[in-house]
């Protein structure tokens, strides 16, 4: 049955979109709990201490809180153009803010919250959904054979092997890139202007040393917490040291902002 809803506001904030959002949330929770339970059973079969599993769980929950608030701010950012339900769905499943904004920009260039039609909205939703699925498709079709043919062979169990260092190197490359992201902003970066949740096409050139300060303070805070965990035997801190270090780094950005430095 087609209800022929043509009012964009009625579609953007439709109850059934929120119901889909709730269903997506439930799906993610059920899937995650299923795999977590399988992993827990496997930990028992391997004779792993319960404490280790608990550590992985608590540290991951505490680690995720701050970035998730950041992701939710993405929902608010996009809500001006797309309402709340669609950004909530998109950022809950296989989404990332920079990607979603790019998708909006490509599918609906020049469209504003007031000029948007139902067709624009549907086009944006399809574009966002289709173009992000490549990683999942590669995982679905190629991950198993890639793991067997490449990963297992790269990581041998020899006494002296490059395997473990290979992934340490990938991590270091990753961290170095994000250091570059923070450091380079002292010399210049471009901000695409966002109005009502979509790019306007205007680019603003800016400089800022705040991200570098945040990076360095978080780094030093982690050093301090690590000292407390290792040398002062404050083991309880171990699961929270990353979150606390991030909070201190982020607080430094707030304090600089209060002093007029952004």
């Amino acid at each position: 049955m087609i209800l022929a809803v043509t009012n964009i506001d009625a579609v953007r904030e439709a109850w059934w979109l929120y119901a889909i959002g709730a269903f997506v949330t439930l799906f993610i929770i059920c899937g995650s709990l299923f795999f977590a339970y399988e992993a827990y059973k496997q930990s028992k079969a391997l004779g792993m201490p319960k404490e280790q599993v608990k550590k992985a769980m608590i540290s991951s929950i505490s680690f995720t809180i701050l970035p998730s608030i950041g992701i939710f701010i993405g929902v608010i950012t996009m809500s001006g153009l797309l309402g709340i339900a669609l950004p909530w769905i998109r950022l809950s499943v296989l989404g990332a803010l920079h990607y979603e904004l790019l998708a909006v920009n490509n599918a609906a260039e020049g469209i504003t919250a007031t000029s948007m039609t139902v067709q624009d909205f549907v086009t944006i939703a399809f574009t966002m959904t289709i173009a992000i699925i490549w990683g999942s498709l590669f995982t679905l079709f190629f991950f198993k054979s890639y793991q067997k043919k490449v990963v297992d062979k790269a990581i041998t169990k020899k006494e002296r092997s490059f395997g473990p260092l290979l992934f340490q190197s990938v991590f270091i490359g990753l961290v170095a890139t994000y250091f570059g992201d923070a450091f380079s902003r002292m010399f210049g970066y471009n901000v695409k202007e966002i109005v009502d949740g979509s790019y306007t096409g205007n680019v603003i050139h800016m400089t800022s040393f705040v991200p570098l300060v945040v990076f360095v303070i978080s780094f030093l805070s982690m050093m301090g917490f690590d000292y407390l965990v290792q040398n002062k035997k404050m083991k309880w801190l171990e699961n929270f040291q990353l979150t606390f270090s991030m909070l201190i780094g982020m607080t430094s950005a707030v304090l600089l902002g209060m002093g007029g430095i952004y």
């Binding site: 087609i2 209800l3 579609v11 889909i20 959002g21 949330t25 899937g31 995650s32 709990l33 299923f34 399988e38 930990s43 079969a45 391997l46 280790q52 992985a56 540290s59 991951s60 995720t64 701010i73 608010i76 499943v93 990332a96 067709q119 549907v122 574009t127 966002m128 959904t129 173009a131 490549w134 990683g135 995982t139 679905l140 490449v150 790269a154 490059f162 473990p164 260092l165 290979l166 992934f167 340490q168 990938v170 490359g173 990753l174 890139t177 992201d181 923070a182 450091f183 380079s184 002292m186 010399f187 970066y189 471009n190 991200p211 982690m222 990353l242 991030m246 909070l247 982020m250 707030v254």
Partner: protein, 219 residues
Amino acid sequence: MNDKYRERMHKYGRIFIVLGLMVIFLAPVSMWAITGVGPNGGRLFTGVLVLSLVFLPGGLIEMMTYSPILGTSATYLAFITGNLINLKVPCVMNATEICKTKINTPENEVVGTISVAFSSITTVVIMSLGVLLLIPLRPILNSEILAPAFNWVISALFGALGYKYFKNNLKMAIVPMIFIIVLSIFIPEFVNGNVSILIPIMAVLTVGISKLMYDKKLI
């Protein structure tokens, strides 16, 4: 025993991906079905084509780079729940470090899965709470005072995480750090505007330098 576990996780993981893809399409397909208005074919084709130029090779590189770090079932979970590089991968890196497990071992399969599972649950719970409490939360989260904190949340995340990796592998970090600093000084907008392109480049560079140092027994 681990092989059997992995086989089972590949089976469940593939089922989860197929179900996940169906769930992802639920929103746009329902919109079409309920409103009776389909997407604009031309704009949809162009939009998907342009985005796929970046995200198709990106998807392959992400699968190849991050799946060994995540482990079997965590890879399937992460490739449906998303936010890989800004959340799931560093989250597993942190859990692996705290639990002192080694990549591609049965123990790390467990740690990686627990980590991605609870990270995914935390994210969707926070998002749902945010939607439920949107009216009281919007002014707080949109406040000018808090904006800088969340603008630079990724710098805070990788600054804190960076210490752990630089502490244990200082020699391996020297060349990539010098390289990225020089690049940042000369082409800053390229560095901060192309992080997702730079990550695999930096990863390959660091692996190459580390291999050289390893062969020369410097590490």
